[in-house]
C-alpha cells in the first residue's frame, strides 16, 4: 500500500493524516446502495419465515460491517482500538440471548393465564 510507504519516513507521523483513495469510498457507497436495495426487495417480494429473517440479518450485518470497516476506518485502525470497541458487543449478544429466553417465558405465561385460563 502506498500510504504505508509514506509513513516509513521518520518523524513524519503526527496524527493520522491518512487518506485512502477515493475509489474505495465510492465502491463502499455503491455497495451500501445495492445492499439496501436488496434488503428492500426482501419486503417487496414478501419473503416469509426463515428466508426473510436470514436475508434481513445477512444484508444488515454486511452493511454494518462495511460502514464500520471503511467509512469509520476501523479496517485501518490498530487492534488496540478495534478490540476495545468490538469485544463489548459480546455483552450485547448475551443480553439478547437472556431476553430471548425471557420473552418466551412471558409469552408462555400469558398464553397459559390469559388464553388457556390456567388457574
Amino acid at each position: 500500500m502506498e500510504e504505508t510507504n509514506k509513513m516509513e519516513e521518520p518523524n513524519k507521523q503526527e496524527e493520522q493524516t491518512s487518506t485512502q483513495k477515493i475509489g474505495i469510498y465510492l465502491w463502499i457507497w455503491g455497495l451500501l446502495f445495492v445492499l439496501s436495495f436488496f434488503s428492500y426487495m426482501v419486503d417487496w417480494y414478501q419473503f416469509q419465515g426463515m428466508l426473510r429473517w436470514s436475508l434481513i440479518l445477512f444484508f444488515m450485518f454486511l452493511k454494518a460491517g462495511l460502514i464500520m470497516a471503511f467509512f469509520m476506518h476501523l479496517f485501518w485502525e490498530r487492534y488496540a482500538l478495534v478490540n476495545v470497541l468490538l469485544w463489548p458487543m459480546t455483552a450485547i449478544a448475551c443480553f439478547i440471548f437472556l431476553m430471548n429466553a425471557e420473552f418466551q417465558y412471558t409469552l408462555f405465561s400469558r398464553f397459559f393465564y390469559f388464553v388457556v385460563g390456567g388457574a
Binding site: 463502499i28 457507497w29 444488515m60 488496540a80
Partner: protein
C-alpha cells in the same frame, strides 16, 4: 495502518501490537487523536443505549399475544392510488446512506486539506440529514393522524406505538443533533478554522481536520444505527 512509526518507534501490527500498545505504560491508542478515541468511547456507550431499546423491542414484540402490526402495510405510501410498501422508509434509508457517503468523502478531502470540497461535502451531508429528519416528521405526523399512540393503535399490538416513537424518536434526535453540528462545521471549514488552527469553543484544542473525522464517526454511527432499525423494526 499496522506499520506506523511514532517518534522513531516502530509499532507492531496485529494482536502483538495490541499487546504491546496496551502494555506500553503510555497512551494505549497509538496514533489516534484523543478526541477520536473519546468519540469512539461515546459511540460505544451509545451502542449500548440503542441495543437496550432494540432488545426491549424484541422482548415486547415477542411476548405479546396480540398480532404485531404488519409494518409493510402500516408504513406504505399511496402512489397514484396504489399502496407501495415501505416506500418512505426506503427513500429515508437511501438519503441517509447518501449523506454517509458524502461525509466519508468530506473526511478524505479534509485530510487532503481541500477546504472547498470538504466544506461543500459537509454541507451536502447536512442537507441530507435535514431531508431525513423532514421525512421522519412527515412519517410521524402521518402515523399520529392514523391514530397511532404510545398506548395503542388501530393496527394490532398496543406496544407498537411506544417502541416506534421511542426508537425512531431517539434516532431522529441523534440525526437532528448531528445536523446542527454539520452546519456548524460547514461554517468552521469554510471560514478556514483548520488552516489558521483556530481553537474550538468547547476546547483549547487547536483546530485540525481530524475534527472532521470525529464528526464523521458520529454521522456514520447514526447511519449504522439506522441499518439496525431498518432491519429489525421495519423489515422484520
Amino acid at each position: 495502518m499496522s506499520e506506523q512509526k511514532i517518534d522513531g518507534f516502530e509499532l507492531k501490527p496485529g494482536f502483538k501490537g495490541m499487546a504491546s500498545d496496551t502494555g506500553s505504560d503510555q497512551t494505549m491508542f497509538k496514533g489516534v487523536h484523543w478526541g477520536k478515541a473519546m468519540m469512539w468511547i461515546f459511540l460505544l456507550s451509545d451502542t449500548f443505549v440503542f441495543s437496550c431499546f432494540l432488545i426491549s423491542y424484541m422482548k415486547g414484540r415477542g411476548s405479546t399475544i396480540v398480532d404485531w402490526p404488519n409494518t409493510s402495510e402500516v408504513f406504505s405510501l399511496h402512489v397514484g392510488g396504489v399502496p407501495v410498501p415501505l416506500l418512505l422508509i426506503a427513500i429515508m434509508t437511501f438519503v441517509l446512506i447518501t449523506s454517509s457517503g458524502t461525509m466519508a468523502l468530506a473526511v478524505k478531502y479534509g485530510y487532503e486539506k481541500n477546504r472547498k470540497m470538504c466544506g461543500w461535502l459537509i454541507l451536502a451531508t447536512a442537507v441530507g440529514g435535514l431531508t431525513f429528519v423532514g421525512m421522519q416528521v412527515f412519517e410521524w405526523s402521518k402515523l399520529i393522524h392514523e391514530g397511532v399512540r404510545p398506548w395503542g393503535n388501530p393496527f394490532g399490538a398496543a406496544q407498537f406505538g411506544s417502541f416506534f416513537f421511542m426508537i425512531t424518536g431517539f434516532h431522529g434526535f441523534h440525526v437532528s443533533i448531528g445536523v446542527i453540528f454539520l452546519f456548524i462545521y460547514t461554517y468552521k471549514v469554510f471560514a478556514g478554522h483548520y488552516e489558521t488552527k483556530k481553537r474550538g469553543w468547547f476546547t483549547k484544542m487547536k483546530g485540525d481536520y481530524v475534527e472532521i473525522e470525529i464528526l464523521g464517526l458520529y454521522w456514520h454511527f447514526v447511519d449504522l444505527v439506522w441499518v439496525f432499525i431498518f432491519a429489525f423494526f421495519y423489515l422484520w
